[in-house]
Symmetry: C3
């Protein structure tokens, strides 16, 4: 349970807010490369951290993300023409390049040289694996591009989609680190997704109340959920949290890995980035076909939008018959949609001043503590260690350990996943 | 004309408001039994007095009305599974019975016994004649179930529907007690509804400005409207008001009686319960068929919802030709829809600080006074007399009295309808 | 750039606001005559300057504009019956004539004579050339009806439409006086509209940064934009601004003239009146056919509404292919729709505290100054000179002047268009 002030701190991301300042220190995904398919093509609107922006790919292929509004008379540059040196406002022709410089101002006499005095807000971009990333923070604080695994492998090894979620980003992030709902909410859902791994499914289904371990690291945290594996010992699943809103979930066997990024659009809406990747090989056609079915973490979208077909307005097309039959506990098809249904039903901004957390909420409690601490540190001028990190987490492993071996020892000392934070 | 403060007092019904506290002392209809057709079926959302709730019929057939939100992480129990001992949250499986007890908590280790410390808000329910009633007040103040006539007769004698109205409940209640609009707004509408009774229709049509008498009683008030009946004397029609928002209208002859209940959903929306019943016999098939036509107090609904087909957005499908022809004064089909059109057009919450009341508004003025007084009394710790009442009003009579007989004498002394309030 | 206070002053038009008081001193168009086609026909809702009103044409053909709400119980008179002496409320039959007098009150006993004490808000109307004008100011300040050219010629010489724009009226008015966007935003659009006049199109296309002259007059201002006409000298185009929100644009040759009026509906919506007229002859069938195509200042409307088919929700059906091809700079069809796209994209109420004005914005700067001054004067009890004016501007001329002749001399001294304001 949080105070009202803490809840505001964790959920508001506009310019000047503590969370807004913190998030703006990191690179994060802004849009799919496919949204800007060709040099000189039409711009698209993109709202990030409560800022209205437009993105465009100039005629040289460089992607710019700039203020949506022309500084002259405030009209939307969405209607602008992408040509020559930049995006030209449809109203009076003021033109801005990807760096925000005003490169043309036909409505003013050239001798006034007014254009040299006008600059528009613009943010750095880097394109990697079909995704356009942006950095919206202070110029002199720009960190290195994060070597998250999916950013370091070949594009053929990654499958990525995004969808809009009608909730604050933080409750989505909390849901992503909450290992304990897997045995309940997703009961029956894995039948659609996992082939083989029947032992593991049994471990999960039989053990709704696992042991939880949260290990803070320089990049975020490794969260272990240990379930009884009978004669084999304990089945440990890892969820990795990478500051400030990245998540990686361990695989069941050697299938492609899952990951998410939850980026605030505004305080009541977020972009849910869903990633599958394999660390060592290209994804197979069959795997990609399965992803596209919308039964796993990816979701069917309303054509021409990033809004899911199954959404809040239609109760996610819940099938009460399927639910009652016991075949699919939630009655809602799709692992990602099941999560969205829960998270959106918490309200646009979940009110954390009135909740009852249990032992199974250890990861959520740790997440809040880490982010509140990072905001407090930043306020005092101390930047997060994770900015320096090379995001060297390679994979979020799942493993069966003998009863006498601890998750902590194994993952820190043997696998050298992450560096433990000193004050633990 | 009221002060702004009085208007707020009469219209706001959330927890802790004066009107909210008053309404919560009474039993009232919450949903149709047919919304929860079978034991163990899916739950439904229900909002009452500004509280978000879910209703479900457990596997034993008992109806529970509990908080919509799971106390753990605030997700909606609407997505829950109704099985075993109660409604199980789809997220982590916490389960609540109809009394609000947490009966299962699979995500926590059993030894913590956390579930015994968690209880959810729940309200009493009683099912009667196809309607589920609830009591949302303090446990130690629960009154006896109200013996309104339609609650005491056989189900075959009652026909009941509900619809959602896009206005505050209080202006709907005022409209229900306002006898003077009958001759105007509903002019032409009775041709669709009443067969026979031609004398009576003449009395009503010829006399738009009747005499009004308001007699306060222990249960609410009896409101008489007297119209000239020529050689016969005076034709008196009674509208009964039963605290806090029940109404009964007298019949024209021996056809089924009309009644309404207006229950706040939130401050800008209410549930309009429409009832027909006959005190001594089953309703005929023909009568039921007529009710279903949507021309009387019942209304055609958009399938799968409780929203009327004729509504605010489509101007109630007003037929200007019919209006101009003089056949149907309002041009809007259906007595109930005519009322809804007027009441919704007053605005979501009618502003009573700026109105011009006349002699014909005696019932409305009395209604406000009674409720303001009941709220003031409750504030001082005095509970309404109507709670003790057995709602012994049997019928709201219509009668032709000789000119020398008063409505008051007849109805109080001869018919013994209600007990006059002392201070009158 | 304005202060927040100035921005509020220029944009809010409700009763009691400085701009509201100023606008209410003038006659302006309220609705099309065709919206009230016949005596005794159904009333229509009309919202003007943030006031909810209904208009009706009584059985004698006189148009009344009165308060939407019946003063009795606040229901909408839109549902009323237009018959006999006025509009009769559908609820209790209170009836109001076009002057706002209560002429019938059937629900009250006649002897109370209550009706003589009840009066409803009503505004003066005058019908001219297919348009119903209203005056909403103090009775003792009603000015003469404005002799704008289109009000003085035969109806066959005028073509007029209205559409709803989703923005504050003031940014629409600013756009109408902003001559510098013509060469950019409307590039390619004139090909659809102007036949002949190829020299002039060249002058405009070749000169995006004209010289600007603003001449204030007793009625408003004459705004000249001078473009290089090569050997001919300078091509001057005049835009006339007539207080408080009328505009006339000069023709390219002798084709029909263009004019606009932007009337606030509420603070975030305005009515855009679009006029074409010819000072000396009837419009031809071909011209009218062209206007109806929606490619000029008139716009295709969603049938049964005044909402444009091309609108904010569908990005004005922008055709990116047409835009990229260079054939139509904005990619948006229709001169009027191009303007609407820009103005609506400035936001519901454009925030002028953060903009970068240039030399080309001279007309906009003058407009704001004039209106701020008029509001300040009115506050001190000085009424605008334009109220006394006979709106004697005959036409907003376009003319090619030799380089040594000034716009000011020509238009003031030779053409005697308007009287210069003394303090210039």
């Amino acid at each position: 349970m949080l105070s009202r002030e803490q809840n505001v701190m964790l959920t508001k991301s506009g310019p000047g807010t503590p969370m807004g300042e913190l998030l703006r220190l990191y690179w994060f995904p802004a849009l799919l490369s496919s949204e800007l398919p060709e040099p000189g093509g039409p711009p698209v609107r993109v709202k990030l951290l409560n800022e209205d922006l437009v993105a465009f790919r100039d005629e040289k292929g460089v992607v710019g993300i700039i203020d949506e509004r022309c500084p002259h008379r405030g009209v939307s540059l969405y209607f602008g023409v992408n040509q020559g040196c930049g995006l030209q406002c449809a109203y009076h022709g003021w033109t801005f390049d990807t760096q925000g410089n005003c490169t043309d101002m036909p409505s003013e006499p050239p001798e006034s040289n007014f254009k040299s005095k006008v600059k528009i807000k613009s943010y750095s971009t880097i394109e990697r694996g079909g995704v356009i990333w942006t950095y919206m923070g202070p110029e002199d604080q720009e960190p290195p591009f994060p070597n998250l695994i999916w950013n370091t492998v070949d594009e053929s090894q990654v499958f990525v989609t995004k969808r809009i979620q009608q909730s604050n980003f933080f409750q989505a992030l909390e849901g992503g680190l909450d290992s304990s709902h897997i045995s309940i909410l997703h009961k029956g859902a894995f039948d659609y997704n996992v082939s083989g791994a029947s032992d593991i499914k049994k471990f999960i289904t039989n053990s709704a109340a696992p042991k939880y371990v949260v290990l803070e690291t320089d990049f975020g945290a490794l969260m272990g959920a240990g379930r009884d594996a009978g004669e084999y010992g304990t089945y440990w699943r890892t969820t990795a949290f990478l500051m400030p809103f990245f998540q990686m979930v361990c695989p069941y066997s050697d299938e492609p890995r899952n990951g998410h990024v939850w980026v605030p659009i505004d305080d009541e809406t977020c972009m849910n980035w869903c990633l599958n990747w394999h660390p060592t090989r290209a994804l197979t056609e069959q795997e990609i076909e399965n992803f596209k079915k919308g039964l796993g973490i990816h979701t069917d979208l309303i054509p021409g939008t990033f809004y899911p077909v199954q959404n809040k307005e239609n109760d996610y097309l819940i099938d009460r018959g399927l639910q009652t039959s016991g075949k699919l506990f939630s009655g809602i098809k799709g692992v990602g949609t099941q999560d969205a249904a829960m998270q959106e039903s918490q309200g646009a901004i979940f009110d954390r001043t009135n909740e009852r957390l249990g032992l199974s909420d250890a990861a959520i409690i740790a997440l809040r503590r880490m982010l509140l601490r990072a905001m407090a540190d930043l306020e005092k001028g101390t930047y997060p260690a994770s900015l320096q990190s090379n995001y060297h987490i390679v994979d979020a492993p799942a493993m069966v350990l003998p009863k006498n071996e601890t998750f902590r020892t194994k993952i820190f000392e043997e696998l050298k996943y992450g560096v433990p934070v000193k004050n633990q």
